[in-house]
Amino acid sequence: MADRQAPTALAAQATDRDPAVGLRAVLELRRLLEELERLHVDNARAEGWSWQAIAEALQVSRQSVHEKHAARRKVTGLEKPRD
């Protein structure tokens, strides 16, 4: 796999002129971002952070962070109903 390549080869692929390569990398970066956000929001809630505090740290509205994570956390039992 590609992760054994020299740094110059990596840089070349990151700026590949083939749209399929570049767009795929962007898609996967976005998915990685979503996974990291999920991980750290869950950790923040476990540490007792309020939705408001999490929203401020992420520079988004409380509503958008709640909408994105609260329902998922309820489904998986991480969040008590009526929060």
Binding site: V21, R31, H66, A71, R82, D83
Partner: protein
């Protein structure tokens, strides 16, 4: 107070279980996307009106699972457990296995999952169609029967092709679900 609702807040417990089943089916097959075929498998293995209707029309879970897997493989759906996703990030110098190792150490094993199978475009459309189905009959909650109608809503969808290959009369199946929906 929950001032914000998402579409998943409207799902019944059974509908949520069917979605989890769909995700598990995708993971089991090594697929990186949750498609309408996976939704169909999730619905067939979950109690409720959808699985009752599927069974009444002769859909057998094992045959459904293997036909869905066969058609996805024939269509070239990769079953490589997201290696391509990990590979795409490695082209940017991001080492996913190192992130996973550190996340496991900090937050416990399995806290970081990449890639997490995501809904395909057609699966998202099926979920949206299920909401419209529920609304059309004046129901607030999305149950398994609405999800099944959502999956069957688009002509030519791969999930419909799977059922057709199994010899199922999809139009009749749709009719059965609709009439049970209106009875309920």
């Amino acid at each position: 107070m929950t001032e914000v609702t998402t579409i998943y807040d409207r799902f019944t417990a059974l509908a949520k279980r069917a979605i989890v089943g769909a995700r598990d089916a995708a993971t089991f097959l090594g697929h990186d996307l949750i498609g309408t075929e996976h939704l169909l498998v999730g619905l067939a293995q979950t109690a409720g009106l959808a699985s009752e209707a599927l069974r009444a029309h002769g859909v057998e879970l094992t045959a459904l699972g293997s036909e869905a897997a066969r058609q996805m493989s024939a269509r070239g759906v990769p079953a490589t457990r997201g290696d391509a996703a990990v590979g795409a990030l490695s082209t940017l110098g991001i080492d996913v296995s190192e992130i996973r190792r550190r996340a496991d150490a900090s937050f416990g094993a399995g806290s970081f999952q990449f890639p997490r199978p995501a809904f395909s475009l057609s699966a998202k459309q099926a979920v949206k169609a299920s909401l419209e189905q529920a609304r059309a009959v004046g129901q607030e909650e999305i149950d398994t029967e609405h999800l099944l109608l959502g999956v069957l809503a688009t002509e030519g969808d791969p999930a419909i092709q799977v059922l057709t290959s199994l010899g199922i009369d999809v139009a009749a199946l749709r009719q059965t679900v609709l009439s049970r929906l209106l009875d309920g």
